[in-house]
């Protein structure tokens, strides 16, 4: 009745209109619109990230048959297992070494590309991006074949220069190096393209000013290029650290954790324990270990990025 203005009394009609206006105002508020527009993304995050994460936490508190609550038993058992500590070490070693190598090689490649005249730059950029766009499972298969003990083309090349055969996937340290090599090969182009974009955004006049101020080419790199790129470098390193730390496919295809589980990282070990050995709660507990380590990294990196942004932009 109230909504029907023609039959309602004056006072009630205006109150009804007032409510409708308030609704309209609410719908028109920027924050409301912003919330509605981000709703699809929020639902994806809740469905694909928050729910599985919460479910993993729940799973990790169950017993092996998932019939009863087991508290922190899974974690306690993991802490007592040597294999788990080996996996933790291998994950950190793999992620840190691979990211450092990717960042350095990417930086070097970006510099090389930056100094190629624009005309020729495109084709080099395209070629150097190839490792990054091939599906990693496929390219890793290619590498696996190159590391194969009987047909290793890398060993053949080494034998040409009289270097003795290397047991690439047979010895655990060589296998770890092989995994890092493949990861670097796949991931360095990403760093290259990010750094190239960052290099292009450094104003040429800063270099000219530094040249006149007396800076050598190394000093220009140290005092102009690196500080100007610091934000991109830290964000790229953080992003890559997360992805590398959670890497699964390379280890799975190349070594499958072997020899003797010595090349497992968190993701492949969680899969091994949870799916292949059928201990889902323990597997969930393994995978949960990545989170606090990465959260800590992200916190420090993002804090320094924000601080720099405030000072410079």
């Amino acid at each position: 009745m109230v909504a029907d203005g023609s039959h309602a009394t004056g006072g009630m009609a205006s109150r009804g209109r007032g409510r409708a206006n308030a609704m309209q105002r609410f719908a028109r508020r920027r924050s409301t619109i912003a919330f509605l527009m981000t709703l699809p993304l929020l639902s994806i995050i809740v469905g694909l990230v928050a729910y599985p994460a919460a479910y993993a936490i729940y799973l990790s508190t169950l017993n092996r048959r998932m019939t009863a609550f087991a508290g922190t038993l899974n974690f306690e058992l993991l802490f007592e297992s040597d294999t788990f500590w080996m996996v933790a070490f291998q994950s950190c070693f793999f992620a840190v070494t691979a990211v450092l190598l990717k960042a350095s090689i990417g930086f070097w490649l970006a510099h090389m590309l930056h100094h190629i005249p624009d005309k020729g730059q495109r084709k080099w950029r395209g070629m150097l991006l190839v490792p990054w766009v091939i599906p990693p499972a496929l390219s890793t298969l290619g590498w696996w074949w190159m590391f194969d003990p009987s047909y290793s083309s890398i060993n053949w090349l080494l034998s040409v220069i009289s270097v003795p055969e290397v047991p690439w996937l047979g010895h655990h340290w060589w296998a770890r190096i092989a995994i890092i090599m493949v990861n670097v090969w796949i991931g360095a182009p990403f760093f290259m393209i990010m750094y190239l974009a960052a290099l292009k955004s450094v104003p040429e006049q800063l270099y000219e000013a530094a040249m006149i101020d007396g800076a050598s080419s190394f000093q220009r790199l140290r005092y102009v290029t690196l500080p100007m790129m610091a934000n991109i470098i830290s964000i790229t390193v953080l992003f890559s650290l997360i992805v590398t730390f959670a890497n699964y496919d390379i280890v799975r295809v190349l070594t499958n954790g072997g020899p003797r589980d010595l090349t497992h990282v968190f993701a492949s070990y969680a899969f091994q324990v949870g799916i292949l050995s059928g201990n889902i709660p323990r597997g969930a507990a393994v995978s949960l270990f990545m989170f606090p380590i990465l959260a800590l990294c992200a916190f420090f990196v993002l804090r320094s990025v924000t601080r720099r942004n405030k000072e410079q932009m």
């Binding site: 000219e208 006149i212 007396g214 410079q312």
Partner: protein
């Protein structure tokens, strides 16, 4: 401090495009020289060649008697102020100013002394801890100058340093730059496209066009005795008026025929100078202030004629009168108290003591 010599310097780019076509210029110790000209005239390229940021295609540049063609910028002992300041955004004002000295391994106390001294000259002592982001355009400009001053180089190079500032600040910083130069007396080469900046700052102005030097001289000389039509038109605001004209020998005296049948007798002291142009088409040039009410001029050598103003622009201390003559827009400068109205004919007089005749073909002032 040192003198700068530019000898037969050419800058050619790919495809044989010459930006600078063999210029010669001698800059004395302590001198403030301004290179001025329209965009693309080669002035910035010349400055960058002196700085060592551009290679010299041929010719020779010497700073303080040493040929620097193959010496990198950092060893030329120069300092440069860029149009967009080029301050290092991640360094504080102090670090920005100290950077050049730190790289040259000066002792800490000496660096502090020099930076503080420069900060005092430029009145930026309170800003030393700030990052460039927290500074206004004018303050950034001061820091950029401070960075140059602390180095105590042989030569200061300025590349359009005031172009990014608003009009009021530009005038203020112009005075500031002049003051700094009077204090430190470092040889200075300054590039600008603004002829007012050139006139106010320079000991000598170098007018460039199409990669060549049109004229070099003190501001007053360029203003009163331009050597080419380009310089005559470029220096001065509002610009000099040009009319097509003809020089004739009539009834024993030399005279100039303008459109609308205006006949101007050539002043006696210029007869010999213009005699050679008799019978030829020339361009007649006269500045707005020499085209004014008859009462403002001496009676000698003036020519009075009537015009119909189209636009009147009162500027406060003067009034500009625009009118058309044979398709050319002409500007005259009159007293602000003189009544003038668009469409109402008025009398103006040309002061022939300040006229210029320009050769149509060569563009040279006769």
């Amino acid at each position: 401090m040192a003198e700068v010599s530019v000898r037969k310097v050419v800058k050619a780019y790919e495809g044989n495009v010459q930006a600078v076509k063999g210029i010669d210029l001698e800059i004395a110790d302590h001198e403030f020289v301004v290179l001025v000209g329209p965009s693309g005239c080669g002035k910035s390229t010349t400055l960058r060649m002196i700085a060592g940021l551009e290679e010299i295609t041929s010719g020779e540049i010497a700073i303080g008697g040493t040929v620097v063609n193959d010496i990198p910028p950092r060893d030329r002992d120069i300092a440069m102020v860029f149009q967009n300041y080029a301050l290092y955004p991640h360094m504080s004002v102090y670090e920005n100013m100290a950077f050049g000295l730190t790289l040259r391994k000066f002792p800490k106390e000496e660096i502090a002394r020099r930076v503080n001294n420069a900060a005092r000259i430029l009145d930026i002592e309170t800003l030393l801890e700030r990052k460039p982001k927290a500074l206004s355009g004018g303050q950034r400009q001061r820091v950029a100058m401070g960075r140059a001053i602390v180095r105590d180089p042989k030569v200061f190079l300025f590349d359009e340093p005031l172009s990014n500032l608003d009009a009021k600040l530009r005038v203020q910083m112009r005075t500031e730059i002049k003051k700094v130069h009077q204090t430190v007396r470092t040889t200075t080469v300054y590039v600008t496209h603004d002829q007012v900046e050139a006139m106010t700052l320079a000991d000598r102005v170098v007018v460039m066009n199409h990669g060549v030097i049109e004229q070099v001289g003190p501001p007053q000389e360029l203003y009163h005795h331009p050597k080419t039509r380009f310089v005559a038109g470029f220096i001065g605001s509002p610009a000099m008026n040009f009319f097509p004209a003809r020089v004739e020998n009539g009834s024993g005296a030399l005279r100039v025929l303008l459109p609308n049948n205006i006949v101007l007798p050539v002043p006696a002291d210029r007869t010999a100078r213009y005699q050679g142009a008799a019978g030829r088409e020339v361009i007649f040039g006269i500045r707005p202030e020499h085209l004014t009410e008859p009462k403002n001029l001496d009676r000698d050598n003036i020519s009075v004629f009537e015009v119909t103003p189209e636009v009147i622009e009162p500027m406060g201390m003067e009034t500009l009168v625009h009118f058309w003559m044979q398709g050319a827009e002409i500007c005259a400068r009159i007293d602000p108290t003189t009544p003038a109205e668009p469409g109402r004919p008025m009398e103006l007089a040309a002061d022939l003591n300040h006229m210029h005749l320009i050769d149509t073909e060569s563009g040279r002032v006769l």
